[in-house]
């Protein structure tokens, strides 16, 4: 019975992702890109959930690892022949190496995870506001360095010539993979200990949980997943430093909070719901008909509506749409 409950917690989110992917195969190619985008968002938000949801500590810094993953995968997959034109100042070994799609994603995850671990070593000693500001600092530093360091990427330019291998199928597989890792982590001893510390830190410490160590593990796992999601993103769209900064931080946090930060189910539901709304508004900004009227939403409406929605959910339903509970077929 307990195993069945656990399996449901995996199968609920996975089913949702698969349904979204299948819906995506039914629509035109231009609309399909919204579905692909949505699935990459699911991967990012689930990566955020692994740390924020399980530990209850806020992090504004996770988009750093998405960016680091994107940079890793992007730099490694631009063909060698095109590197001198776009990124003339690269380190020698980066200039002469090119990897395929799958190795670049694996490396994105690895580099994201290692960076997250290094960052977490000092940072996980903090909690509350200090942790929030410090993770913000990590985002600022990453953004700043990637912007001006031409030896590891395109700097202020946009990542062009990265093979666009993230199609609907790859995005769906990626999202399912991230969900599976997040689920396995959540079911593991580490995930349980960390959640115990989230619910009652004093009690968890009293029974011998090292909150520091558990947060460290979660941060590293979550950084690796974020790096992987960044790899998916760079293979989908031409990204630059601005597209992996405050706006993305905001929108992914919004997705997590709207869905319900304390459950995997909430992360997936939030990512899908907000992405769906966001995509609808993106289409609507180009003109649409609403209840028979033709409406042209001015550009910027998306962010407006998503911001308002996030504030509203926080005020009216702080637990998020799912109330922060895991998926369950039959309520006991």
């Amino acid at each position: 019975m307990r195993r069945a409950v656990g399996l449901q917690q995996l199968l609920g989110p996975v089913t949702l992702v698969v349904v979204a992917a299948l819906l995506g195969t039914l629509v035109s190619a231009s609309t399909q890109s919204y579905f692909t985008d949505t699935l990459v968002n699911v991967a990012m938000v689930v990566a955020l959930y692994v740390f924020i949801g399980n530990s209850g500590v806020l992090s504004f810094g996770h988009i750093s690892f998405v960016a680091i993953g994107a940079w890793t995968a992007g730099v490694l997959s631009v063909p060698v022949s095109e590197k001198p034109a776009i990124m003339p100042d690269l380190f020698h070994f980066l200039r002469t190496t090119t990897t395929g799609n799958v190795p670049s994603l694996a490396l994105a995850a690895a580099v994201g995870g290692v960076c997250a671990l290094v960052v977490a070593l000092p940072l996980m000693r903090l909690s509350g506001l200090a942790a929030g500001i410090a993770t913000f600092g990590v985002l600022e530093i990453t953004h700043n360095v990637l912007q001006y360091e031409n030896r590891i990427g395109p700097g202020l330019n946009t990542f062009s010539s990265v093979p666009e291998t993230t199609d609907l199928r790859q995005a769906a597989i990626g999202a399912v993979l991230v969900i599976a890792v997040a689920w396995a982590y959540g079911r593991s001893r580490f995930g349980r200990l960390l959640r115990a510390s989230r619910e009652d830190s004093a009690a968890a410490r009293a029974v011998g949980v090292s909150v520091y160590r558990q947060r460290l593990i979660a941060f590293a796992v979550s950084g690796a997943l974020a790096g992987f999601a960044g790899g998916l993103e760079v293979h989908l769209l031409p990204v630059n430093t601005e597209s992996m900064y405050l706006d993305l931080t905001f929108i992914t946090l919004a997705m997590l909070v709207v869905g319900g930060a304390t459950s995997l189910w909430g992360a997936v539901v939030g990512a899908l719901a907000v992405s769906a709304l966001d995509s609808y508004l993106a289409v609507a900004e180009n003109g649409t008909s609403l209840f028979g009227w033709h409406v042209d939403f001015p550009s910027g409406t998306r962010e407006l509506v998503v911001g308002a929605l996030m504030a509203l959910v926080l005020i009216v339903r702080p637990g998020g749409l799912t109330g922060g509970r895991e998926f369950k077929l039959w309520p006991r």
Partner: protein
């Protein structure tokens, strides 16, 4: 690295402005335990009010009055619509909520005024240099320092010498006990929001004079840096928070002005690395005396 008098004056004035923002954020934090990430958007709204006023050819005083009116109305609206329903939630939830409000307001400005923003020309005359014993210093640098000093002085008198100020002090130490002893919660909070709004108005005027091009992300960077400074100084008390704000403004102003561009492009990284370092060593803040009790 060469430091000129102008650099020094600029750094002082940036520090002074950041100190005001730090107080504005710290006052609300004191009574509500809420970090207002959207504080910069209050400043941005005030700056747009100034820009609009100058577009309509209003006299300077009317523009400044409009600026204060907009900022104060907006900060009360924020209190009513967002802070009030969120009272008692965890600090993290409140921080995310104000993050959402910040994003919302920025996009309202984007929809309304466009990404290129507006220029506030009417107040630009203060940006002229003044020759003081052979050294040219922009008027606004001096004005900022003086205005900020006066504001902080007035605030100090208000908090130390008036009843409502004392109530506010008590509330920021221990709200529950303060209420038991007869402090009216709503009145204290309203007062703090009002003061914080007034300060945002002052900051809006000073920043707009220094940088007349008002865009939707006006003061966003400043808010992030001030927040870091406030946490750096010590969030729980006003004076350390103010010193933290001043210090980070002064440091970034001085280094940003004096370093050549090839080095100053990494200024943000060093600034935030220093912030992280300090936080790891002293999570309670640099300028607080008591050892911070760790709340998880």
């Amino acid at each position: 690295m060469t430091v000129t008098w102008q650099n020094l004056a600029d750094a002082m004035s940036l520090g002074a402005i950041y100190a005001l923002m730090a107080v504005g954020i710290g006052l609300v934090f004191g009574v509500l335990r809420l970090v207002n990430f959207a504080y910069g958007q209050l400043v941005m709204a005030g700056a747009f009010a100034l820009a609009l006023a100058s577009q309509w050819n209003w006299p300077v005083w009317a523009g400044i009055a409009l600026c204060f009116a907009v900022v104060i109305v907006l900060s009360f609206a924020m209190d009513w619509l967002v802070f009030r329903p969120l009272r008692g939630h965890s600090p993290a939830v409140m921080l995310v909520a104000t993050f959402a409000v910040a994003f919302l307001l920025e996009n309202v400005a984007l929809l309304w005024f466009g990404a290129l923003g507006k220029i506030a020309t009417s107040v630009a005359s203060l940006n002229q240099p003044w020759a003081i014993s052979g050294v040219d210093i922009r008027k606004i640098s001096i004005v900022s320092i003086v205005v900020a000093g006066l504001c902080l002085l007035a605030l100090r008198v208000l908090i130390e010498r008036t009843t409502v100020g004392l109530h506010m002090q008590a509330a920021s130490m221990d709200f529950t006990t303060a209420r038991m002893l007869g402090v009216r919660a709503n009145r204290v909070i309203t007062f703090a929001v009002l003061l914080s709004g007034l300060l945002a108005g002052v900051v809006a005027v000073l920043l707009t004079v220094q940088n007349p091009l008002v865009t939707p992300d006006f003061a966003l960077r400043d808010t992030i840096i001030v927040l870091a400074g406030v946490v750096l100084g010590g969030m729980n008390r006003i004076v350390p928070a103010t010193i933290g704000g001043f210090a980070i403004g002064f440091a970034s102003g001085l280094l940003g002005g004096a370093l050549p561009t090839t080095q100053s492009q990494y200024l943000d990284s060093f600034l935030f690395a220093a912030v992280i370092l300090v936080l790891v060593v002293r999570p309670g803040g640099l300028f607080t005396r008591a050892r911070a009790v760790e709340r998880v």
